[in-house]
Amino acid sequence: MPEVGSVVLPGDVITDLKGSESSGKTVLGPGLRIDSQNVQDERNEIVVCKPGILRHRDPNVYWVDSHQKRYIPTKGDSIIGIVTIKSGDNFRVDIGSNELASLSYLAFEGATKRNRPDVKIGDLVYARIVVANKDMEPEIVCIDSMGRSSGLGVIREGGFLLHCSLNLVRKILSKECPLLKLLGSTLPYETAIGMNGRIWIKGRSTVETITIINAIEKSEFSSNEQIKAMVRQTMDHLSGF
């Protein structure tokens, strides 16, 4: 039985997972599957299906943290897509997965049949995945359940789009990572981070944008302390010391 924090490989069997105290259920995140052969005999065997590090979050969540560049659509993820085809009622959006996602022209804030949103081919959209199924093409929307945009929508005011690994995105979005806050404490900037490994950054000037991009790229394999030092250094550099 591999322990939490150790490397696991596809095929490894995991037993003795902690359940929640109240319901006794265990949440299996990405990289873990229930062995379909053993579902009937109720032997609780969990099989790893991604190489990576087994992680655990209290009280009952387990998942495998793996290095990955290919994005696999997951329901609820917010992603950055590039509009590639305009076909009738739907836009077809490249989200970095095996298939193009479809985005209805009605799935924008304030859009009606008469009032079409102004989306052109090549535009970036920050959207949320609502349908992610292995047998169907993913479907994305730019509104929340209340019909408001809540940060989603077309991104059009310049900036820079960075492609990176999915790990980096997860790393900088995690609560422990100080990078974005540190950068934001000295530089005003705006960002949209897609779970599909795309980061859009816009600073006041091109130089600042590039600085931020570099800082993000450098932080992929460094610890929080290293990130702090690195940000301090780059900021000093930027201000001409």
Partner: protein
């Protein structure tokens, strides 16, 4: 009355489809629906077979966002985009609330358990009291009596003081009246 109702029920479909019959058509539909519902309720009650819920200990959650508690990816810093910044603060607050609630659910005792515990607790506490009463029944009686007496005394005092003040008040009033006259 009955004849009328029957007549209503027997209105033909084509007639009910006409525009001026829409309201009655709706009513007829509603009645039918309610009837169906009544029948359905009984029907289901009879047919329920107690099935043991399939034990599924696992919940699949394919999203990293949930597992790693990731933040929302749209951000703005130092007032670059005030709209987004406003959104960020509200989202942070909401998230905190949700997480606190979840945490509470996980750690707190739910109503049923509370009720169960209390029912047993009542029994144990009651036992304690009966024991004490058995040990020194005279004591407890005395103390009770004492308390009652004290309360009675207090109330008497109050009444007394009240009466005194009222008498004084009256005297003062009388003096005032005399002075005026």
């Amino acid at each position: 009355m009955e004849a009328k109702q029957k007549a209503k029920a027997n209105l033909s479909k084509h007639l009910l489809q006409m525009k001026f019959m829409q309201r009655s058509a709706l009513r007829v539909q509603k009645e039918e629906y309610e009837q169906d519902k009544c029948i359905d309720d009984e029907h289901w009650k009879r047919d329920i077979v107690v099935l043991k819920p399939k034990q599924n200990k696992f919940v699949l959650e394919p999203s990293y966002t949930y597992c790693e508690e990731l933040r929302f990816g749209r951000m703005s810093h130092k007032g670059f985009n005030p709209e987004i910044e406003k959104l960020m603060t509200t989202q942070d607050r909401d998230l905190d609330l949700v997480r606190a609630e979840e945490h509470e659910k996980e750690t707190s005792v739910n109503d049923e358990e509370m009720a169960k515990r209390y029912s047993s607790l009542v029994g144990t506490i009651a036992k304690k009291f009966t024991k004490r009463q058995n040990e020194k029944p005279v004591d407890s009686d005395e103390s009770e009596e004492g308390e009652i007496m004290a309360s009675v005394r207090n109330s008497k005092k109050k009444r007394y003081t009240y009466s005194v003040t009222s008498e004084k008040h009256i005297e003062r009033k009388q003096k005032y009246v005399k002075q005026k006259t």
